[in-house]
Symmetry: C2
Subunit: 282 residues, 2 copies
Amino acid sequence: MSAFAERLDQACLTTKSLLCVGLDVDPACMPAPDVLQFNRAIVNATSDLACAYKPNLAFYEALGLPGLEALARTVEYIHTYAPHAVIIGDGKRGDIGPSAQAYAKAMFHVWGFDAITINAWGGQDTVSPFLEDPSRGVFIWCRGSNPGSADLQDLALEEGLHGTQHRVPVYQRLASLAQRWNSQGNLGLVVGATVPAQLAAVRRLCPDMPLLIPGVGAQGGDLEEAVRLGVDVHGRGAIINASRSIIYASKGPDFPAAARLEASRIRDAIAKCLEAEGKGWP
Amino acid sequence: MSAFAERLDQACLTTKSLLCVGLDVDPACMPAPDVLQFNRAIVNATSDLACAYKPNLAFYEALGLPGLEALARTVEYIHTYAPHAVIIGDGKRGDIGPSAQAYAKAMFHVWGFDAITINAWGGQDTVSPFLEDPSRGVFIWCRGSNPGSADLQDLALEEGLHGTQHRVPVYQRLASLAQRWNSQGNLGLVVGATVPAQLAAVRRLCPDMPLLIPGVGAQGGDLEEAVRLGVDVHGRGAIINASRSIIYASKGPDFPAAARLEASRIRDAIAKCLEAEGKGWP
C-alpha cells in the first residue's frame, strides 16, 4: 500500500465517510462575500463528515490573483483545522515533460495539495512526472460525467488477435494503461457517477485503484449505484464527490447548517449502502 | 474569416513571420533574476520578429503567486509594447460545463490572452464554452510532440461501412470533430513538429484551421518540414513555436541579443521555406 493509499484509508476511517466536498466557489451563488470566509464556514460545518475536500482550480482562477490567494489560504486552513482530510486539487493538468514537472511542482509544492486530478491525453511520459512522490495521489480523468465525454472517451478500439476480436472503448484502454503506469501505487481514476456502466467497467479493470466519483448531487448521478459499483472488494477506495448540492444547499446566512445537513445525509446514505453490502464501518 | 483569424493574419503580415516565442520561464536557466524583467528583455529583443508569444502557465504556477503576478504583468507588457503580437496562454485546460466556463473567463478575461490551448478529452460540451468570443482563438491539443502522445492519440479506430473499412487514429478523429465544432471560425489545433506525418494528416483534414506547431528547436523537430507541411494553401495559418532554443540561447548577460539572433535565424528560415513554395511575404 502506498503512503497515499494509507492516508486516504485513514481519512475515510476517521470520518467513517467516503464523501468529498467540492469547493467550487462562485460569487453568484455564495451567501458569503469572501471566498476564504465561505470555505472556512463550509469546512467548519463538515470536517467530521468528509474524508476529502476538492477545490476545482477553474473557479479560483476565474477570480484572478485574489481568488488564487484565497485558494492558498483555504488549503492552509484545511491542513490546520481538518488535518485528517485529503485535499484534492482538481485542475486536470496535463502537458509534456518539463511542463508536467512544473505542474507537479505547482500542485504539490506550491499549493500543497495531497492529491490532484490530471489529464492523460499526452500519454505515459506526461503522467509519470506527477507520480514521483508516493505520498501524493494522482487521479487521471478517465470517463467524464458529462454527455460530451462520449465524443472521444467512448470511441471503440479493436482489441485481440484474429478470430477473438472485440471492441474496447478508449476510456477502458486508458484504465488498463493506468494499471500498468501505477508503479508507485498512488494512481487513481476519475469516473462520473452519471455513467454507472462505465464506472462498473473501470472498477472491473482496476480492482484496487482509488476512484474519484463526481456527478452525484447537482449532476443527478445515483448515489447508491455510485457507491455499490465504485468501491473495491473491501467497500473502500471510492471517493464520492458532491459540490454545489452541499455548498449551495442554502443561499441564506444558514448556509453552514444547510451544508452540514446535506453532507450528513449523503454520508449516512453511503454508510447504509456499505452496510447493505456487508462492508460497513467498523 | 473570424475576428481572431484576421488578428492572427495581421500579426504575421506585420512581422512577416510565423514565429511564436515560447516564454517558458525557469529560474534554473534564466540569466535574469526576475521573471518580468527577463520576459520584458526577451519581448524587447524579438517583438519585430514574432507574430506571437506563448507563455506556458505551468512554469508560472510553479513559482507560486509571485510567478502568476509576473505572468499578469508580462501579458500587460506585451499588449502595450508589442500590440501586434498574439498572446497565446498555453494552459491546456479542459473540464466539464461550469468549470470550462470558469477557465474561459480566467484565460480570456482575467489573464487577457488573445488565444489559448485547451484539452478536448471531455468532448464538445467542454470545448464550446471556450469558443464563444470569435475574437479569441482556441487551439485544441491534438497530436503532441512527445513520444507518449502515441499512447492514446495514435490508437486506431475502425471507420467506414462494411467492405470499405479503414483505420483512423484517435487524433485524426479529433481533428475531424474539431472541424465540425468550429462554428465561429476561431478554433485551431496543436500538432508537434516532431511528428511530420501526423502534421501532414491534420493539415489535410483541416485545410483552413490555424495550427500551432511546437517542437522545433530544443525538441528537435525539423523546421523546414514543419513549415512546408503546416501552412495552408496560402502559406499562412501555421504558428511555429520555439521556446528554450530562443530564450535560453545564451545564459549570460547577452541573452537578449542571443535570443534576437536565434529568433531572426528561425524567422528567416521560415521565410525562405515559404518563398521556395512560392508563398513568400508580399
